[in-house]
């Protein structure tokens, strides 16, 4: 009766890879109709990225694409052709929201820039998300999130103090950017509800990334402190690290352990070294332990090496010490807590039997998110979108098919 939070919201999704598509994915989970526009001749990057169903690379097989685009309708369109661009313009007239993540300037080449589309649809909200933003001297800088991670300082902040940095896993700003995009998009949708006014939004993934370094930047501006990488060490607490455990079937296994209070230290010390270590006055305060971090972590490393990672987690958590298996994909997919939250969502899939995606990251008590269908195969919904949503006649639709526009 009440429907989903975003029921009736119409979204034209001209995004690709990760930072753009995740926005529409969230909107679709909560009821929006999201039409993802793609090309089957220039297949978007995420479709060729692992992990793949059954380990087989292929444009329909990417689980990354699958999780970024679940719940959307899929249309393929040749935007190089005038007919294709005309369809895109119709889609934009239909939509409440456009999300796009092409290089700045690309949408204008297709006649789909904000000034043009707003003439057709004044209450439209258009969100552009790019690496550097739409303006400024570096706006044209090409790149994916690993470049974004360099430009927003993250590549330098992951690594051992005695080695060059390695950076975070994957394109970090692609994970941060869409979170910020969603927030501002939902806020301006509410404003539109009240005022009838649309707007243009320019989210730079690198700027979203830097916002999360606000404390480090404020520290720099105030005192000139440059943030440093320091392995897994913490500024305040020790022992604090990731420890190798007994390998499992030749696979490396690790557990993360962080001692954040005196009580946790007493418990960990008792578990690892017995009452003698727990009572050792050299380690009784946080600053004592910080100074002795290398020695303490050596003791823990020797203890953990003979145990399974699961055992380390269980023994320490039983004592109230923060510790966890360093979760592999297999650990994660069997994690009882994630299962308890219903985080993984499985649904029927025409090719694979079952598609598995991540569920919404926000559990709403009254109107929870629903993943209504797997991500579209290329061009899967061409007919439905053009004929049913956009109202094209049989003749017009057949003409577009015959002219090779819907590819």
């Amino acid at each position: 009766m009440t429907g989903a939070a975003l029921d009736g919201l119409k979204v034209a999704d001209f995004s690709w890879v990760v930072a753009g598509p995740l926005v529409g994915r969230a909107l679709a989970d909560f009821g929006a109709t999201v039409v993802r526009v793609e090309s089957s001749t220039r297949v978007e990057t995420a479709r060729m990225m692992q992990p793949f169903y059954d380990g087989q690379p292929g444009a329909e097989n990417s689980a990354l694409y699958g999780t970024c685009n679940a719940g959307k309708l899929g249309v393929t369109l040749d935007l190089k052709s005038g007919q294709g661009r005309a369809v895109a313009r119709d889609l934009v007239r239909w939509a409440d929201v456009i999300v796009e993540s092409y290089a700045p300037g690309q949408m204008a080449k297709w006649g789909l820039d904000y000034d043009t589309v707003r003439a057709d649809n004044p209450s439209l909200i258009m969100l552009s998300t790019s690496l550097m933003g739409q303006s400024g001297p570096w706006a044209k800088l090409a790149g994916y999130g690993n470049i974004g991670a360099s430009l927003s300082g993250y590549q330098d902040l992951v690594g051992w103090a005695d080695r060059p940095p390695i950076g975070p896993f994957g394109p970090y700003t692609d994970y941060v950017g869409p979170r910020f995009s969603l927030i501002v998009l939902l806020a301006t949708l509410d404003q539109r509800r009240r005022t009838g006014e649309g707007c243009y939004l320019d989210v730079a993934q690198s700027e979203a990334g830097v916002l999360l370094l606000s404390p480090q930047l404020a520290d720099y501006f105030d005192r000139g402190t440059v943030a440093q990488r320091r392995g897994n060490a913490d500024e305040r607490f020790a022992p604090h690290g990731v420890f190798a455990c007994r390998p499992s079937d030749s696979a490396d296994r690790f557990a993360a352990i962080a001692v954040c209070t005196d009580e946790q230290w007493a418990e960990l010390a008792d578990e690892v070294g017995g009452p003698v270590l727990a009572a050792d006055p050299r380690y009784s305060t946080a600053s004592d332990r910080l100074a002795a971090a290398a020695d303490l972590e050596q003791v823990i490393a020797a203890w953990a090496a003979d145990l399974s990672a699961e055992d380390v987690q269980a023994r320490l958590q039983r004592r109230g010490v923060s510790a966890h298996v360093c979760a592999s994909s297999a650990d994660w997919s069997r994690d009882p807590q994630l299962a308890h939250r219903g985080h993984l969502r499985a649904m029927p899939h025409p090719t694979f039997g079952t598609a598995t995606v991540e569920g919404p990251r926000y559990l709403l008590s009254e109107a929870p998110g629903v993943v209504r269908r797997p991500a579209p195969e290329l061009g899967q919904d061409n007919e439905y979108v053009l004929r049913t949503l956009l109202g094209y006649s049989d003749v017009a639709y057949d003409r577009l098919v015959a002219d090779g526009v819907l590819v």
Binding site: T2, D7, V43, T45, M49, Q50, P51, Y53, S62, A63, L64, W138, A139, A142, G143, Y144, N146, G153, G167, F169, G170, P171, V176, R179, F180, L182, I183, V184, A187, T188, D190, Q191, E197, L201, A204, V210, L211, L212, L213, P215, A218, F221, D222, R230, N232, E235, A255, A256, A323, H324, C326, A327, S328, W332, Q337, L338, R341, L344, R361, S365
Partner: protein, 425 residues
């Protein structure tokens, strides 16, 4: 409202009661930036977030930045009067956000069901490490441990050493941003129905997205997503533009004044960027014809046809290394824009602070005066209408107690219950 110039921003007019500590401060900050009136609640002795790193002898920069743009009230939740005050404020709030841990506020009579009863329209956002219930809800937690439990830690290794987290605490920040988004989704539902709801975010579940789908590998039967091993073009090729399937060290190169991030990308979608790079080298006289002739878009096919092998890859890498060694980050940036390269210097926070791009986009702002003045990232989104408004520094303990109670409840300060007393500084 807010005792100053009219607040702009799409969320102006909405009230947020913010009970978070350092784990959840960011959610309210983001809503405040978009115009909401966010009131940060602290105990009279001050929030634990005032001790969060990084900090100087006198201040926490985490507090200074993620509590910025909020007003502050001091309320002692241990007292009946304090809890009563929170309930009254919650009746006037549109949103409440908290990160106290599983069951903590419920034990004080301030849980979701308690406040839903007094304000059925309230959107109540809660952020916990693992969740409010379930087998790990009671686990001891920390940033590192959540990074391990959520998936991003395990694959991020430098050779044989253990996996590495970022040297800044980000697990909760990712989840706090999710919480702000989830609360706004619930807001749209409230607009339709008149009813608020609970929005429940777990840090562990939030972090799967920070693995680029890797956490799904097991579920979909990709037994061998050996990201770190995919460096040889003769095995399954990494066709991502970011080189997410390539070990991180192979994307780091020395240049004249530091390090460079550059992935020798291949495949139809992204190989063109690598072609551009070799064209730049060729223009500078540093790349033989034989090498500039390789089409990295078609490389997977060339490998298959036996026309490109590991020794060719080694040659490409050696030429690249020798070339970049004599270039500065500034020269590389310039070339990246001119030639469209996926190649950029690795930068630290000092570099960010001086960034020409961020400066041109008016990204940083200074709020506060005297000792309280702080310069920080501010304009995280731009647009055709006013969006971000960074208007005040992080509050002092109890700085706005009387003002907020007066505005939200219509009480005069003398009538304010004892829960907030003793906090005025």
């Amino acid at each position: 409202m807010n005792g100053g110039a009219a607040v702009v921003g799409p969320l102006s007019g909405y009230r947020v009661l913010d009970l978070t500590d350092e784990r959840g401060l960011l959610a309210g900050r983001l809503l405040a930036d978009l115009g909401a009136d966010v009131v940060q609640v602290e105990p009279p002795g001050g929030s634990a977030a005032r001790l969060a790193a990084p900090r100087s002898e006198t201040t926490s920069y985490t507090w200074d930045t993620f509590a910025a743009n909020k007003r502050g009230i001091a309320v002692d939740l241990i007292t009946d009067g304090g809890r009563h005050l929170i309930r009254r404020l919650a009746m006037r709030a549109d949103f409440l956000v908290e990160s106290s841990g599983p069951g903590v506020l419920a034990a004080l009579g301030l849980g979701w069901s308690d406040l839903h009863e007094v304000n059925p329209e309230l959107v109540y956002g809660t952020l916990t490490a693992f969740g409010h219930d379930g087998p790990k809800a009671g686990y001891a937690e920390s940033d590192l441990v959540l990074w391990a439990a959520g998936g991003p830690l395990q694959p991020n290794r430098d050779g044989a050493r253990p996996p590495l987290r970022m040297s800044v605490e980000h697990a909760y920040l990712n989840a706090a941003a999710d919480l702000a988004g989830g609360m706004l989704i619930a807001h749209h539902h409230r607009v339709r129905t008149g009813r608020g709801q609970l929005v429940d975010v777990s840090v562990q579940a939030s972090l799967g997205v920070d693995t680029l789908g890797r956490v799904l590998a097991d579920s979909v039967g990709d037994a061998n997503p050996e990201w770190a091993a995919l460096v040889s073009p003769t095995t399954r090729t990494d066709q991502s533009g970011s080189g997410s399937g390539t070990s991180s060290q192979l994307k780091k190169w020395s240049c004249k004044d530091g390090l460079v991030e550059f992935h020798l990308a291949m495949g139809p979608a992204v190989g063109g960027f690598t072609n551009n790079f070799f064209r730049w080298m060729h223009d500078e006289g540093a790349c033989p014809e034989r090498v500039v002739a390789w089409d990295w878009r078609a490389l997977p096919a060339l490998v298959e046809a036996g026309e490109f092998d590991d020794s060719d890859m080694q040659e490409a890498r050696a030429l690249t290394a020798a070339f970049l060694e004599h270039r500065s980050k500034a020269e590389i940036l310039d070339a990246a824009i001119r030639y469209r390269l996926l190649c950029i210097g690795i930068n630290d926070t000092a570099y960010l602070a001086a960034s020409e791009q961020l400066g041109a986009r008016d990204y940083f702002a200074t709020v506060g005066e005297g000792d309280r003045a702080r310069t920080m990232p501010a304009r995280w989104v731009s647009g055709s209408v006013p969006l971000i408004d960074l208007r005040r520094p992080a509050p002092q303990v109890g700085e706005h107690t009387a003002e907020v109670v007066g505005e939200w409840l219509g009480d005069t300060p003398a009538l304010v219950d004892s829960g907030s007393r003793g906090a005025a500084s």
